[in-house]
Subunit: 324 residues, 4 copies
């Protein structure tokens, strides 16, 4: 496994990491989760990603039970949670979501309880919240650090401007700005990572923990012949993803990528994941595999990415047409 510094911090995260997302509790129960996390850990993965919003807290409960059972040395891995969406979706009460001090503080306490831990390594603002002053967010996160409840705080899906503002407000108060951002990044979504955030990387030294490296599975190639039963896209609950993801145009591009994967003697998944960590501004790419074979396949990206020559990268750019 390769490890990278999380931006300017001293935290060394495995360049591939594992997220329970909406799969834990929903598709992945305790037993399978145990196997998947064990496989990840044994392969050197040291960052496990989570959030209050994933299956209404159940994703964290499953991970907490698995970690308790594994009994790995707490100093060998990192755990995250994120606050914003609340646990109850549309049933959230007004104080149970957003980035107010009340919700950030209570969300942190509840995540610690669900995961059965004393502190989180990373704690994210899961989205920007125009309904809270930036000073309140910065102060609250710093208070949680001072109280020993979290080690680093960051953002997810914030704009470059949001992050720069948070950093400026923190500096002005003598406090600590965000250390990391968790954006979507894959062969279809490149604007933020490859353009918007460039000044943020340079000026603030922020690390990134990438989600959706396979574009909701699209880049695995499994939709090349239509949506199979039992795949994440087939679950009605996430039906809203269908429209955007399944455009035939996109699938066609994936089919062309397949040629390159074949040439490199690898899978579309491994190629797509490898492509993300080829970007040095990526600290870690979060895998969301729900089967051991998938995870094993994704891990091949590690050996693959040094083989992505300029020539290969150029060909991929041409196929995708998404380079900013």
């Amino acid at each position: 496994m390769e490890y990278r510094r999380l931006g300017r911090t001293g935290l060394q995260l495995s360049v591939l990491s594992y997220g329970s997302w909406v799969t834990f509790h929903q598709q992945v129960g305790d037993n399978l989760g145990d196997k998947l996390m064990g496989l990840a850990y044994d392969n050197g993965i040291n960052f496990f990603d989570n959030a209050e919003a994933y299956e209404g807290g159940k994703s964290e409960e499953v991970m907490g039970r698995i970690l308790k059972n594994k009994n790995w040395d707490r100093t060998t891995y990192c755990i995250s949670s994120k606050a914003f969406f609340g646990m109850y979706g549309k049933n959230n009460k007004p104080t149970q979501r957003g980035l107010s001090r009340k919700h950030l503080t209570e969300a942190c306490h509840m995540a610690l309880k669900r995961m059965q831990m004393d502190y989180l390594d990373l704690f994210y603002c899961h989205r920007p919240d125009p309904e809270v002053g930036m000073e309140e967010i910065v102060r609250t996160m710093n208070t949680l650090i001072a109280q020993g409840k979290i080690l680093y705080w960051g953002t997810s899906e914030w704009s470059a401007g949001d992050i720069l503002e948070a950093n400026a407000v923190a500096k002005g108060l003598g406090l600590e700005g965000p250390a990391m951002e968790q954006p979507q990044y894959n062969l279809f979504e490149r604007q933020k990572m490859e353009n918007d955030y460039l000044p943020v990387f340079k000026e603030v030294g922020i690390g990134t923990t990438i989600w959706s490296p396979l574009a909701s599975g699209l880049l695995t190639g499994k939709y090349n012949d239509g949506v199979p039963e039992g795949s994440r896209l087939s679950i009605e609950k996430y039906g809203w993803l269908k429209e955007a993801a399944l455009q035939e145009e996109r699938v066609e591009k994936v089919r062309q990528l397949k040629t390159i994967a074949d040439e490199l003697n690898t899978s579309l998944s491994a190629l797509s994941v490898a492509w993300t960590i080829h970007n040095p501004n990526v600290t870690t790419t979060i895998l969301g595999a729900t089967k051991e074979e998938q995870l094993t396949e994704n891990l091949k990206a590690l050996d693959l990415y040094p083989m992505l020559t300029t020539e290969v990268m150029d060909r991929m750019d041409k196929i995708m047409g998404t380079k900013p």
Copy 2:
């Protein structure tokens, strides 16, 4: 229910809230309190107001027992307390009142104990205290936030100048200024909310939690024909309110307001409460109903206030003659 941000903070409070004031323990026992708070909560009220001074702490004890019994999710509602007057009125020892670090700290600890909680959402300086340096107040409140004992601090019945000073002192120390003010506001008392505080709303972004929307009951119209037995004004202990409140001149105005209420097919109470939340600088108006029917009546203000047209507001202004 409608929810509004508490000033610049991210806290979303219901625009109508409920306060136990001096009624809990005195007029409202545990059983009735349980029903009233249940009715409020079921109607979306998420802020319950209290203070050390209300019935010498007994008001908080009653509320604490009710909340323990209700067992609502702590993240769904907000609780306040206030320090200044102490619990013993004229029998307070000199260290048991005011805004010294000793009293603010001990008052917070005692309120938490009486209410059986780990933290207060809002904690107020119940009055200004010229006998304490502003720096001590600001530092103490920030220390309580850092210790996780309170989430937001504010003021009650402070002048605009006091609030601006607190804010300036906080800024100078890199600390957090007051987030909210709790003033009296009703059709008779408009000077502060509609004139004095305007620069505070603009520069500091302070929220307001309004008390006495019905002018001690005067605006319910129940004194239109004299003081009935059993009403709050008839209780000798609060006899000092009589003189000011019962001036015939004021009652006459209320009688004229009744015409407008009748036209709108509503009660004087609902009209008067609706009038307060029509002001966008009001975050929430605290109701103090002691009977379920009253609370139900007051809650009608929610549907009513969008119907207060400019024409209706002008007529009310003319009747009252209190617009600054």
Copy 3:
């Protein structure tokens, strides 16, 4: 009882207070201490002074047991401790004295344990310590405040320059400077309170808690006819006080003061104590009475001091010849 603000703070201390000094454990056991503190408290005294150095911590243990037994409301009184001398006098190990972070922190913890409390109201640097940087002292005291272990910090027998430096260092760090100083002050020792500290009172707004108002008993007049058996001065351990205190010249002045006391129909003790609280820069004068009669006599200073006219004060000045 009259109460005065402790300098710029909001703490209201009784203008007369009670200190266990070296008398508790040595001359005053638990039973007598209980009576003396009860008498003090019943007369409105709300500040009980102590220090690690008084009888090697035993003075605090006695006071702690008495307070536990009394079970007074913790919010009605204030307790102090002081660190510098350590508990073991010449047997202190090098880390057990002075104003290092280690000793200040450990001394605070030990005082809380001896007094069986959660926090001290006032915590003093018992002497200046040229062997510690001022920043370390200021930071340590502020950390103890942030941790909720003390409410206010101050100094004892520091020079005006020391106090101003502490204040300047605190301001520069955005931290809190000393709130009070405990100097010796009596008809023989006037230089600091009436001259040196004047800029400190003006610029820093420091409060004062006065010790030795009776000049080690000299001003009670009890040495007017020689040193009696059983008095504090007769105890060999404190023999070093004899030389300075018993100069015949000083006793002669006391004899002349007696004339004024007689004219005012009061005792020398009451007159001398009253003279200290006549100075508005005195927040409180600490009494060290070891007998109930003495304490009762000293408390008469309260009614007496408003009767100290300019004419009387001038005559006292002339007799003493100690006015700066």
Copy 4:
């Protein structure tokens, strides 16, 4: 014993101190360690040095058990730990070493647990870490101080530039910079202490806790006739020291020093240790004796060092040829 201030701090450390280094657990078991620490303490030593890296934490466990058994007053001595190398050497996971907030925080918690204490007196960054921003290090150490887990923080084997940067970053944030540095210092290694750090001593007022005063035993003269069985250098694990230390050239110098030791009627060890504390920029020299006789011999440096006249020092400088 003589005590010196740790730089600008108020902490008084014995000029000779004792470190368990790699000898505890390895060569020195609980029984012998108990005797050695007892001998040290009885001779006035008040600083016991340790680190997570010494025997993978076992050195701290041994010391913790001994201290628990000794039951000395916690205020009479100082304990250190250091973080950077982790407990597992080459088997450390990436998050188990370095100066990230995660490792510093977890290393502190683990050291406290191994030593069975509530706080460390001194906590060091055992080496510089170019893979962490200085702000993170400074903030983390200050947070540990604020939480009461450590009293002072410092560095070990940092360059003068590193220390000055840490100090500048701390000042800029209103936080506390490093209070001490632990460098190697002996007759062979003089560059840092006698040249590089001079501006640090002057500008930052840093104290020093010296390790390896005997150059891994070389200066005891025990290698004057070759490496004996059972000595630290003979243990394979530390074989890397051999090459550098045993150069015949160096041993020859030691042989010449022996003449001076003989003239002064003392041992090479005592002379070498005395030479280190003759430098006033040395706060304390850490002894690593594994036998009672050795420790007793080393302690003679105390009486010896005032006898190191300018003439003797000059002769030693000439023999060594190491003066910067």
